[in-house]
Symmetry: C3
Subunit: 159 residues, 3 copies
């Protein structure tokens, strides 16, 4: 009869390492029976992008943002020691050696564990991202939905 | 008779997009009847700077920091895709197109909604910022005041 | 008879200023009788590095990370206005002038106040950091231990 524990993470960052931290905490919390939501906003939306090009109609500004941002979690850079893409390669090598799951696998695992992956509709508009470009089986919501969950949350993080 | 819900945000970052996220969450929470505080520390203090030059006396080091930091929320850069000021222009254009409020308007709205805008006095000292340089009708406090509110907070975020 | 208040901070960032913020909040919370834990993960582990070189055996990749990362809290850079190491010097001068404790002192104070300084074992592996290279009298744990504490935390922050 205990109250349901919830973990709510806002993923604002588009960095590979920060997204990894978010998904590791989220998967851990789900394993401990928390109800978990990751609310992706701004650059964090890139973690939900499909890696192939999707033929959608966009205005000029939206096309530019689309080109400048990484297409999918595997192409995100590091927050530190990025060195023009060398850092991510280095860390992915070390991760393989130590059997740490790469980010795309962590996201798959989150979906298998029924973690709510939410895309912020306001920032999707802003960055010109459309539903066809994002992973299937995710949800779409705004700040009101986030707040409704966060106010009962045990663990609320902004990453 | 329900207990008052509170949202406490530490705004550490001096990035336009992160400050936007902080103020969007804060304004949303206030609309849902939360008591909301944004505690501005380090580079987050720049969001509270007036945009005009204020004639205050400063030491040499403080003057340097004053010159290096943006004067007011409208001049802050992006955390990502900043490209020497090009990114902010791009995103402000997209925001106008999508009717998203720019940061200075979000701050005005926060003041109208009686959100407590607090400037961290310790880091004001450190960065050489004086009260005359910051917006009117804000509060001044230290980490103790933050903790007193945060320990009863429903939503605590560090941005 | 009140319930014990707890503050749990994840220190992900390897920036001097962000680590300062984390330790100032932590020391403040401890002074107000909170039970405080700082969970150091990814680049945040650098705050726990000893400043001398420790003779440990490492693979090639781990050696590279070891060389690229700052050895100890005093050598960390700023998140903003770093200017190739000039920013940190500037801010340390201002700190001295205003009697603000430098980061290594804040960490010492945290240890004196019995704040739990925890190193994330998974990311230690990833970055090739060994126990001999980190400060004495710290703890070692993974995400499960973090979650167990955070779900009862009053103040949970990701920095």
């Amino acid at each position: 009869m205990g109250e349901k524990k919830t973990t709510n993470i806002i993923l604002f960052s588009g960095d590979y390492d920060k997204a990894m931290a978010a998904y590791i905490i989220a998967n851990g919390a789900a394993a401990y029976d928390h109800e978990v939501t990751i609310f992706h906003t701004f650059w964090g939306l890139n973690a939900l992008r499909k890696d192939e090009h999707m033929p959608v109609k966009k205005g000029f500004l939206e096309k530019m943002f689309g080109k400048m941002m990484p297409r999918g979690s595997d192409k995100m850079g590091l927050s530190n020691l990025n060195y023009a893409g060398f850092g991510p390669k280095l860390i992915k090598n070390v991760m393989k050696k130590h059997n740490v799951m790469p980010l795309p696998k962590l996201i798959e695992m989150a979906q298998e564990q029924d973690i709510n992956l939410v895309a912020c509709t306001m920032t999707m508009d802003l960055l010109g991202l459309q539903k066809e470009e994002l992973l299937d089986n995710i949800e779409y919501a705004g700040v009101a939905a986030y707040l409704a969950e966060a106010e009962d949350g045990k663990v609320n993080l902004f990453i």
